[in-house]
């Protein structure tokens, strides 16, 4: 039977959509104004952004940083969370507590502490965004990655799958790559894209550590050019959306583990 949506539900949906889309629409309309007259309509602001070499270099740097952070986070946290679920379940609340620290400690405090802590490290690490900044972002992405993976591992029977794999002769790496990872793929992807979104939008740490990333570029445009600032904000938003769509696209292949039939 076809379900009807209650009028109040429609009203709330419209209010929610308006809350979300009106600022976007306003920003978009603002970005279309001509710098010379202040009137609509021109794509000049977008042209200014894409023709700015800084846009591409900072975007590339932030993307590369994102990939590095995702890779480090997955290498660090997938085996850790797996092992905690499998062998040390009592450590899970401890890990969850540590994962909350980046939420509680403001990034400005965190970066000052990290800058001080890593001060004596080699210049190739301390002075490079791929070294120090990536480390800081891994810490920042820790809660998102941990809770995503944790949810993924909770959704599968880690013990039974591991033991079943081993009883069939699989080694630990085989079990990890062929049995466990494919079954937490969506969780790992979720954590990865959250990490990507963080790196693509994080300003405080990059700015205080004097690295020129995509968010610092956006901030620079914001301070100096009104209409391109709106354009670059929308472009940044679009990049985040593209990442989310990619998640949807990649995750679409995942199958529900719902029992569909009876006992036989």
């Amino acid at each position: 039977m076809r379900k009807h949506i209650a009028p109040t539900a429609v009203l709330w949906l419209v209010i929610g959509a308006a809350y979300f889309f009106i600022p976007l629409l306003a920003t978009f309309l603002f970005s279309l104004r001509k710098a010379s007259t202040g009137h609509c309509c021109s794509l000049a602001a977008y042209g200014t952004i894409v023709h700015n070499p800084e846009f591409w270099t900072t975007l590339r740097l932030s993307f590369q940083l994102s990939l590095e952070v995702i890779a480090i986070s997955l290498i660090l946290f997938v085996p850790t969370v797996y092992w905690v679920h499998l062998k040390l379940p009592r450590l899970r609340p401890v890990l969850a507590f540590f994962a909350l620290i980046p939420f509680v400690v403001p990034p400005i405090v965190l970066v000052v502490g990290l800058l001080d802590f890593y001060k004596g490290t080699p210049q190739w690490y301390y002075g490079s965004p791929y070294g120090f900044l990536a480390t800081a972002y891994v810490i920042l992405a820790f809660p998102y990655m941990f809770f995503s993976l944790d949810a993924g591992f909770r959704a599968i029977d880690v013990h039974t799958l591991t033991e079943a794999s081993q009883s069939l002769g699989a080694s630990w790496p085989t079990t990890m790559f062929r049995v466990i990872l494919p079954n937490i793929r969506v969780a790992a992807l979720g954590g990865s894209f959250l990490a990507l979104a963080i790196v693509m939008g994080e300003f405080t740490m990059a700015s205080l550590a004097a690295f020129h990333t995509f968010p610092t570029f956006i901030q620079y445009i914001n301070e100096t050019q009104a209409y391109p600032a709106a354009a670059v904000s929308l472009m940044s938003f679009g990049i985040t959306w593209a990442a989310m769509l990619a998640l949807l696209f990649v995750g679409r292949g995942s199958r529900s583990r719902v029992q569909v039939a009876g006992a036989h």
């Binding site: 009883s167 002769g169 699989a170 079954n183 199958r255 569909v260 009876g262 006992a263 036989h264």
Partner: protein, 363 residues
């Protein structure tokens, strides 16, 4: 020499002692069920054999070789778990193929072997289905095929039917037994269901408190339980505490009532014994005045439980409640509330000394 041998296996989890030195010997191709209530140590024993856990003391030998410290991936043990354990990212066929791939079997070998195994468990047409598209019973069949694919030295089954409904359980347990006999594979089966264990096993080991109380064939376990616990656990048993009054004639005193029991012959006068009578061995006779006939215990019918061809009658007597299985065709003569005499058969009654229980048996 036994094919599978467990020698003095001990395992403790902190203060909880799960296994207190169990011994098992199983010949090649035999089917042994470890039977017992929750917490008796049966799954711990199975996990030690599988290699998922290490014993604190003792040895596990397969075909004369000590595998106690061998990792589970190198033991060649096929295992079917209680929980659904199929890999959700693989189809039924890929699940069955997994162990063969790990063992680097050639592709054409795998391609021929997988359908054979699926056919063996009655799922020849389900190879392309993912676990979430299979029912619980089908998933356990695929798990069985997957465990058999690697041609394991020992097949381990950890309550594989406990999550299934009654009809499927019966059907699948018969199939497990058929396949086990067909392949002649040495099998260790864990269950808490005594009917299941008796139905499909060559041997049953009843476990309690981390020990094997008794091990024997299903007929032995049912007919001659060695301890009160085994007697209680396997089937239903009437228990009457009594004292031997005349060992020559096999007479015992139960609450002032003299009963004749062949098994009491030769026992010293005054020895405390437990008289064990199966419900199907107990005869009920209706009495009008409630007087007890010789060799019987007076009581009153309390309830009827219809079981099909028989009806289970509960009799409340003087100091003891009794259970008797009566042919349903006769049940009208023994209505609820009727005064009856329960006659203890002279033969076929098991007697256990309460003075000294036999030590937990090793197999």
């Amino acid at each position: 020499m036994a094919y599978l041998e467990l020698r003095e296996l001990h395992r403790a989890f902190g203060p909880v002692v799960a296994l207190k030195g169990i011994n098992v010997e199983l010949q090649q191709g035999e089917f042994l069920s470890l039977l017992g209530p929750s917490g008796c140590g049966k799954t711990t024993a199975l996990r030690l054999v599988a290699g998922f856990d290490r014993p604190d003391a003792g040895e596990i030998l397969v075909d004369g070789k000590d595998i106690t410290r061998v990792s589970p991936s190198k033991r060649d043990m096929g295992m079917v778990f209680q929980a659904y354990s199929l890999f959700p990212n693989m189809t039924a066929a890929q699940n069955v193929e997994f162990g063969l791939k790990i063992r680097r079997h050639k592709r054409h070998d795998r391609r021929s072997r997988v359908p054979e195994l699926l056919e063996l468990v009655g799922l020849g047409d389900a190879g392309n289905r993912y676990p979430h598209q299979l029912s619980g019973g089908m998933q356990q069949r695929v798990a069985l095929a997957r465990a058999l694919a690697i041609e394991p030295r020992v097949l381990l089954l950890d309550e594989p039917l406990s999550a299934l409904d009654a009809k499927v359980r019966v059907q699948l347990r018969e199939e497990i037994r058929r396949i086990q006999l067909e392949l002649g594979i040495t099998t260790l089966y864990v269950t808490h269901d005594q009917e299941e264990a008796l139905a499909i096993s060559d041997h049953v080991a009843v476990m309690y408190g981390g020990r094997i109380e008794q091990m024997g064939s299903p007929v032995e376990m049912y007919g001659t339980p060695a301890t009160p616990f085994v007697a209680e656990f396997i089937g239903t048993m009437n228990r009457l505490e009594a004292t031997v009054v005349d060992g020559g004639n096999g007479e015992v005193d139960h609450g002032g009532k003299i009963l004749r029991v062949d098994a009491a012959r030769g026992l010293p006068r005054g020895e405390r014994v437990l008289v064990l009578v199966r419900p199907e061995s107990l005869e009920l006779e209706r009495t009008d005045n409630g007087a007890a006939a010789a060799g019987g215990l007076a009581g009153e019918v309390l309830t009827h439980t219809f079981l099909g061809s028989t009806t289970r009658v509960k009799v409340i007597g003087d100091g003891v409640d009794l259970i008797a299985d009566i042919p349903t065709s006769r049940i009208e003569t023994l209505p609820v509330g009727a005064s009856v005499v329960a006659k203890i058969p002279v033969e076929g009654v098991r007697l256990l000394s309460l003075a000294e229980q036999p030590a937990p048996a090793s197999a």
